[in-house]
Amino acid sequence: MSDTLTSSDLAHIAKLVNLSIDADQYDLFSSQLTAILDFVSRLQEVPTKNIAPTAQVTGLTNVYRDDVVDQPRILTQKDALANAHETHNGFFVVPAVFE
C-alpha cells in the first residue's frame, strides 16, 4: 500500500493538526509527504498477525505518587503568566471561540 496525498487530503490533515499551509507550499508538501508514505509503506510486507503492539519499553506499570500538594512545583500566578502574549486581570487571554 502506498498512498498519494492530494491537495484535499493535505487540507484535511492540516485542519486536523491546526496548521495553515500556504497555497504555494501544497505541491512541495504533497510530493514530500507522498515520498515519506511511499518509504514507510514497506511495513506492510512484514507479517504482524497476533503480534502485540508496543507503546512503551520500560516495563513499568501503574506508577503512582502520593496524593499531596507539591508546593515547590507549583508556579506562582505571576510566573505562570510571565510568558503569555496577552493577560487580563491575572488570567490568560485566549482566542474567542464564539464571535
Partner: protein, 470 residues
C-alpha cells in the same frame, strides 16, 4: 593563566582546580573567549549567559574546595532543556521569546553538582533533524570542516564542545541526536537507556523514544555526568528505580571473555561509504586484539526499522506539538518551520481514522519485533558494535531538500531508540580530517558495560586528542 580548552577534559580540569593550577574564573573565561572567537562563524550557541553573572558564579566556586563532582565545570545545554531565566527556543521560532521560570530536573542536578551553565546550544528545531540544518535560526557548522554539517539534532552541543566553548554539553537522543553529532565532531556521546535519565523539563519530541544524554571529549567525562543526571525522578514516571552505578569507578576492566556482536545487517548496507567501513573494521580489529571475542549476529527486522520509526515518532510529535497554541507562551502555530509541519502532518495522517490500523498499529507491532531482535541478541553477546553513520559528515545543503535521504542518515541509530537500549558513540578514527564514530550498544540499563568497552578502546587509541584545526 592561559589554557587550551579545546583539549581540556573535565577530569583534568577538576584535577587542575583542586591542585590550584588554575581557577574556575580562568576556565569560564577561556570558554567565553572561544564563544566570542567562534560563535559567529560556527553558530553553535543561540544564547550566552551574561559574562558578569558567569564570572560571579565562577568566583563563588573558587571560594570553595571544589569538592562537588562538577565544581566550576562550564556546560552548555541543548535548547530543548528548560533553564530558569535563560531563553529556551527548542531551535524554533515558536519559542523565540520564551524565558522559562523553572529548571529541568537534569539542569537542576547539574547546577547542584557545581556546573556553570554557559549558554544554550543551537539545534534542529524541536530535535527534528540529523544535520542541524532544520534550525529555525542559522545552521551550525562542523568545527572539523565548516562546509559540512556537524550532525544533528544536538548540532550546537557537539560544535560547542569541539570548539572549546564548554567542557561538556547536554543533548537529547530520540533517533540519533546525541550520537550522530558526537560521531561527526570526534566526541563521546551517550544515548542512555530509556527511563535512565529524567525527561522532566525537556521539551518533548516523541515521548516513548526521547532519552536525555550528553556529549563530552572522553568516556570518563561522559560517565561522570551520567552518574549525576541518571536516576529516579518523581516528576517523570517513566524513570527507573534501578540504582545508578558509580560508572567512573568501574571503567578499568579487561576485554578478555567479552563477547561483541556485529549485526550483519548493519555491515552489508547498500550505500555505506567504504572509507567509513574500513575505519570501523580497523577499530573492531583493535577490540579483538585487546581480547574481545567478535561474533556475527543478526537483527532481522533492521530493514523496516526506519519505516517503523518514521510512523511512530511523527505520530508522537504531532501529539506533543499540538500543545503549542501561542496562548500561555510562545508564538502561534504559523511560526512552525517546514520539518515540524511535515512531521506533524505525517503523524496526524498515521493516527487518523481509516489509516490508524495500517500505519500506527502496524508500526507499533513491528516495534515489538525490533525490540525482540535486540532482546534475543543480548542473550548471546555482551554488546553490539556498529558504525555510527553510513557516511562521513556530509556537505551543508546536500540532503536538505530530500527528507527521506536525510532520514536514512540515522539508519544505524534509530533501531536503538525503538528498542530503548543504551548506546555510546566513541571516536574511532579519521578519513582525512573528518572524524568517524563507532557505536557500542548495550542491553537495557547496560551503560556500565558500554562505558567499560568504550574506555578500554579510548585508552588504546586516544582519537579525542585530535582537535579541530581552528
Amino acid at each position: 593563566m592561559k589554557m587550551e580548552i579545546k583539549a581540556l577534559t573535565i577530569q583534568s580540569a577538576l584535577a587542575g582546580l583542586r591542585t590550584k593550577q588554575f581557577t574556575a574564573v580562568d576556565v569560564v573565561g577561556a570558554c567565553l573567549t572561544n564563544v566570542k572567537k567562534f560563535n559567529e562563524d560556527y553558530q553553535a550557541l543561540l544564547a550566552v549567559v551574561d559574562e558578569d553573572v558567569l564570572m560571579a558564579q565562577a568566583k563563588d566556586i573558587d571560594a570553595t574546595d571544589y569538592s562537588l563532582p562538577l565544581s566550576g565545570i562550564p556546560i552548555v545545554l541543548k535548547d530543548l532543556f528548560t533553564s530558569d531565566g535563560i531563553r529556551t527556543t527548542a531551535g524554533s521560532k515558536v519559542l523565540e521569546q520564551y524565558v522559562p521560570v523553572f529548571d529541568a530536573t537534569v539542569v537542576a542536578k547539574l547546577k547542584a553538582a557545581g556546573a556553570i551553565i554557559i549558554g544554550k546550544a543551537n539545534q534542529d528545531a524541536w530535535g527534528h533533524g540529523s544535520s542541524g540544518e532544520n534550525s529555525d535560526y542559522t545552521p551550525t557548522k562542523n568545527p572539523y570542516d565548516p562546509s559540512r554539517v556537524p550532525g544533528g539534532s544536538s548540532s550546537g552541543s557537539a560544535a560547542a564542545v569541539a570548539l572549546g566553548m564548554c567542557l561538556a554539553a547536554t543533548g537529547t537522543d530520540t533517533g540519533s541526536s546525541v550520537r550522530l553529532p558526537a560521531a561527526f565532531c570526534n566526541l563521546v556521546g551517550l544515548k542512555p537507556t530509556y527511563g535512565r535519565v529524567s525527561r522532566y523539563g525537556i521539551i518533548a519530541m516523541a515521548s516513548s523514544f526521547d532519552t536525555i544524554g550528553h556529549i563530552t571529549k572522553t568516556v570518563y567525562d561522559n560517565a561522570l555526568i551520567c552518574e549525576i543526571t541518571a536516576g529516579k525522578d518523581a516528576y517523570d514516571a517513566t524513570t527507573s528505580e534501578i540504582p545508578v552505578p558509580q560508572y567512573t569507578n568501574k571503567l578499568d576492566i579487561k576485554l578478555q571473555g567479552v563477547k561483541i556482536g556485529l549485526p550483519k545487517e548493519y555491515f552489508g548496507l547498500h550505500g555505506m561509504d567504504p572509507r567509513v567501513s574500513d575505519v570501523t573494521r580497523t577499530a573492531i580489529k583493535k577490540l579483538e586484539d585487546l581480547g574481545a571475542r567478535i561474533v556475527d549476529v543478526s537483527l532481522p527486522h533492521t530493514s523496516v526499522a526506519m519505516a517503523c520509526y518514521y510512523i511512530l515518532v511523527p505520530s508522537e510529535v504531532s501529539s506533543n506539538l499540538a500543545r503549542f497554541d501561542g496562548v500561555r507562551f510562545g508564538n502561534g502555530r504559523e511560526t512552525f518551520g517546514m520539518e515540524a509541519k511535515r512531521r506533524m502532518m505525517i503523524g496526524t495522517y498515521a493516527l487518523s481514522s481509516g489509516y490508524y490500523d495500517a500505519y500506527y498499529k502496524t508500526a507499533a507491532q513491528i516495534r515489538t519485533l525490533i525490540k525482540k531482535d535486540f532482546d534475543d541478541v543480548f542473550g548471546a553477546v555482551d554488546v553490539l558494535v556498529a558504525p555510527s553513520s553510513p557516511t562521513l559528515p556530509f556537505a551543508i545543503g546536500q540532503k536538505s531538500n530530500d527528507p527521506v535521504a536525510m532520514y536514512l542518515s540515522d539508519i544505524f541509530m534509530c533501531p536503538v531508540n525503538i528498542a530503548g537500549v543504551p548506546a555510546v558513540n566513541v571516536p574511532c578514527g579519521f578519513v582525512g580530517d573528518l572524524p568517524v564514530g563507532m557505536q557500542i550498544i548495550g542491553p537495557q540499563f547496560g551503560e556500565e558495560r558500554i562505558y567499560q568497552i568504550a574506555s578500554i578502546y579510548e585508552k588504546e587509541t586516544q582519537w579525542y586528542k585530535k582537535t579541530p584545526k581552528i
